[in-house]
Symmetry: C2
Subunit: 386 residues, 2 copies
Amino acid sequence: MSETRPAPLAGLKVIEISAFVAAPLGAMTLAQLGADVIRIDPIGGNIDANRWPISDDGTSIYWASLNKGKRSVTLDLKSDEGKKIATDLIAEAGTLVTNLPARGWLSYENLSQHREDLVMLRLNGSHDGKPAVDYTVNAASGFPIITGDDERPVNNAIPAWDVAAGLYISNGIIAAELERRSSGKGQEISLALSDVMLATVGNLGYIAEVQTTGKTRGPLGNGLYGAYGQSFATSDGREIMVAVISNKHWRGLGKATGLSEKLEMIGPMMDVDLSTEGGRFEAREAIDAVVRPWFAAHTVDEAAAALADAGVLQGEFQTFEELVNNDPWCSLENPLFGEIDQPGVGRVMAPRAPLSFGGSPAGAAVSAPTLGGDTDEVLRTMQTGE
Amino acid sequence: MSETRPAPLAGLKVIEISAFVAAPLGAMTLAQLGADVIRIDPIGGNIDANRWPISDDGTSIYWASLNKGKRSVTLDLKSDEGKKIATDLIAEAGTLVTNLPARGWLSYENLSQHREDLVMLRLNGSHDGKPAVDYTVNAASGFPIITGDDERPVNNAIPAWDVAAGLYISNGIIAAELERRSSGKGQEISLALSDVMLATVGNLGYIAEVQTTGKTRGPLGNGLYGAYGQSFATSDGREIMVAVISNKHWRGLGKATGLSEKLEMIGPMMDVDLSTEGGRFEAREAIDAVVRPWFAAHTVDEAAAALADAGVLQGEFQTFEELVNNDPWCSLENPLFGEIDQPGVGRVMAPRAPLSFGGSPAGAAVSAPTLGGDTDEVLRTMQTGE
């Protein structure tokens, strides 16, 4: 049990030709799990090369953060010579991730003539050809309407569809690699960002809910749907999120606040069964009213400590600055992080993959390449191989 | 190329003992890609068995939506007999996904004595033992502070961390299966929900940004960071999201609105280079001011058509009801969906996995089991095998 084996994806070679969040995140996840990933960009960089945030010298922190652990090759992809080199690199690697239109030289039909067992995943905006990005897919999803206090649409700040699409991409590539090792055959995989949204909306029950009940959930502010949860302002000007899911949490809320007896009165008053999640959801406004003054009379630390002691789930809202500068979760104490020297950016903390493999560890956090920084080495190795 | 091969994960057998979104979604993703997944619950169901939304007869639409394509076995997991049967099922399958504390009989040490090459993935709230769920992890992430128009925290309505964790779980299991087929060895994998959040915050550049520049992005309403995008009210009381990322999009915005000349005036007026994403971001308020009246004078359909013709990314905000009832993306025209009969819920549309495999198709949408509905069959097959 104690010997260390190579990372789970050791031996897998992947070419990526893409930009923005989803496809780069998918290929980076493969690299973090041990694959050898080469990202090919046009000379001067793809459309995301200079994307904000940028460092003081203009280096894209965005690009560096989404391309950790890859090698970077730049080619003139409009020239026949550049297309030929890219084709050779794809044929040598055997696996391709792209969000470009897979036409002409980049079609599966053409590339698989150069590598018979090619695995190629193509990310599209939608299944029907309508252009789509995270922001427009999100508008269609229904979620912005129920975010916040009213039905005015509010976008999430998390690019949730791009993140999910990236993780579907790595799932698809690893699954196809598993299949290839048994069948000896490759295949083309397609994924649409809009389908990632639609599948998630369905997996979370929203589609069946509308189809069978004719209605859905409205905006709940910071409240939880179908259970009890709320955010509360504390006496020191902070705000805390409280989640009450199990009956143990519910008893804990009464215990932490000393308000058990008053909370018990809500059941008969509202005609609900407070021993169920649904009953507590129905009585949420009354629960809010009973406990809110307790939060207003305590600091966030006092409230967090009392709730934690009583086994209630809680978390203080914080800014990115507070997360990075003050939270032990986001520090080198957490084995998720390592310190790296990122060219053009500086010495920063970077995460590895959040998955920890006990038998075949996937490696520590590493930096991203500079744009095109591996071109000479990759092309030299390739020519040697011919 | 034309013969159809088994689904990518055909032959993989997985036991799941879990609840809520992340771990059930991870195991459901494995099932959707072809694995044989058995979810084991306590008799009467786990804590998520009755979670809202519920159908008119009280069946959990939530549970049904997150357990499609699995088999369901219920056991008395507090009894020695129940633990023994679960142990035998885990040993037979060889792969386990759980979000329970992996102690006692459920520890890797114990279970691997019954199946030497066991792959077991355990989802935790945090790496350091602090209890955490999507809502509390989200509060810590920094995102609620920059969601909406001001720094008052606004929760996302999407359980983004649970969804990402579910997709990391399936990545972890498939990667370990790939490794096991080559090494012959199993391993324990751990994943913390808080680390999924922290890794994502890092991958999107927020950590390096704070560390190197000392600051970060503030709330932008529905605007885009580092590029130009905004939502606009239209003359028919609707709202549309517009995203301008490339220079082609930028020229298209001027063309669609007929305001190119006025938009050009913004560059010298604001001293920015409007041919860059960053320049357009810096000039966003002036751009908003110039184009907003055009949106107010057009219906959402007129605006969408003009923008689409000019190659600008756009999408109308809609409710879940509108998505499900009116949007062709969310209909049986989209091959993502199939119609299923879900016991206790009714005839509804359900998604398959959004990944389409050309050579080894992963199968159509299927329904979820009823709680415990496969217990007899699974136990009978197991006893026969002994």
